[in-house]
Symmetry: C2
Subunit: 134 residues, 2 copies
DNA sequence: GACACTCTCCGACAACTGTAGTAGGATGCC
DNA sequence: GGCATCCTACTACAGTTGTCGGAGAGTGTC
């Protein structure tokens, strides 16, 4: 690879994006504060660099309204999340979702509420399937 | 980052590991054939390099029984898979499994059999939870 | 105007990963 | 013995990502 791929997100980049998702549009300094708050000890310029790269990749936009540039996420958390999950499914299970779900259900713990919610969703799925007579 | 992390698997590395999982212990040439079969056009020496790195990282072992070294996976597919999924959960959902499962169920399609299997697993989970009086 | 701050820009560097060429040893065939 | 073939070791290089430092511009304060 190394050629062709073009834009994916590394850990640091994702972390910065999260700051924008959680805190809304923010300046470099605000993102830095958010990261420090989360225990990520990085320098101001590091955040700046990451934001710049994210902008190059199209994940954020910026505009200078006051003294400093304000950065804003240009992609939704849902979109990025879905894409990542898809990629993982592709990589590990040749794109199939079921094995992943099965693994999660068997290996992870869920609260009562979560289990109920899952049960309900599954039931809905089943009902929909029947409804479509598939 | 760049420092500290030490060993994770890239796409190419994972693909090579898959070859060993699927086809069992194999020589460089056999892995190469497997990759070509899967449409991955890489050179012999590339495979050799990747296998060498995987060995350095402890993911495979090798032994020279005949003319060429035979490489063998030193980690199970399950172990690697679980670790990757955990990492994704950590990265995207702060370690929580439920949001990931919910997203999968809502966004992906499942066959009748899969839905039934899921329903059964959820039911078991629920029963176990009740059994524990938790 | 000088000093202190705060920003952005540019350049840099190291680790990791993907990819591969070249050299040289081993083996087998004529 | 010479030549083709196969294998490993070593080296290399580019792209990506994480991480910063220093230079220089803008702004506010005495």
């Amino acid at each position: 690879m190394a050629v062709e791929r073009q834009f994916e997100l590394g850990d640091a980049e994702l972390e910065v994006l999260k700051a924008l998702w959680d805190a809304g549009p923010a300046t470099v300094r605000q993102v830095l504060a958010w990261l420090h708050h989360r225990g990520r000890r990085v320098a101001y310029t590091t955040v700046l660099t990451v934001l710049t790269r994210l902008e190059q990749k199209g994940f954020v936009t910026s505009d200078k309204s006051g003294l400093a540039y304000v950065y804003r996420a240009a992609v939704t958390r849902e979109r990025v999340t879905r894409k990542r999950v898809k990629a993982l499914m592709q990589q590990l299970f040749d794109g199939a979702a079921a094995p992943l779900v099965l693994q999660l259900i068997q290996n992870e713990r869920f609260t009562k509420g979560e289990i109920q919610e899952l049960a309900k969703l599954i039931e809905d799925l089943d009902a929909a399937r029947r409804g479509r007579r598939t």
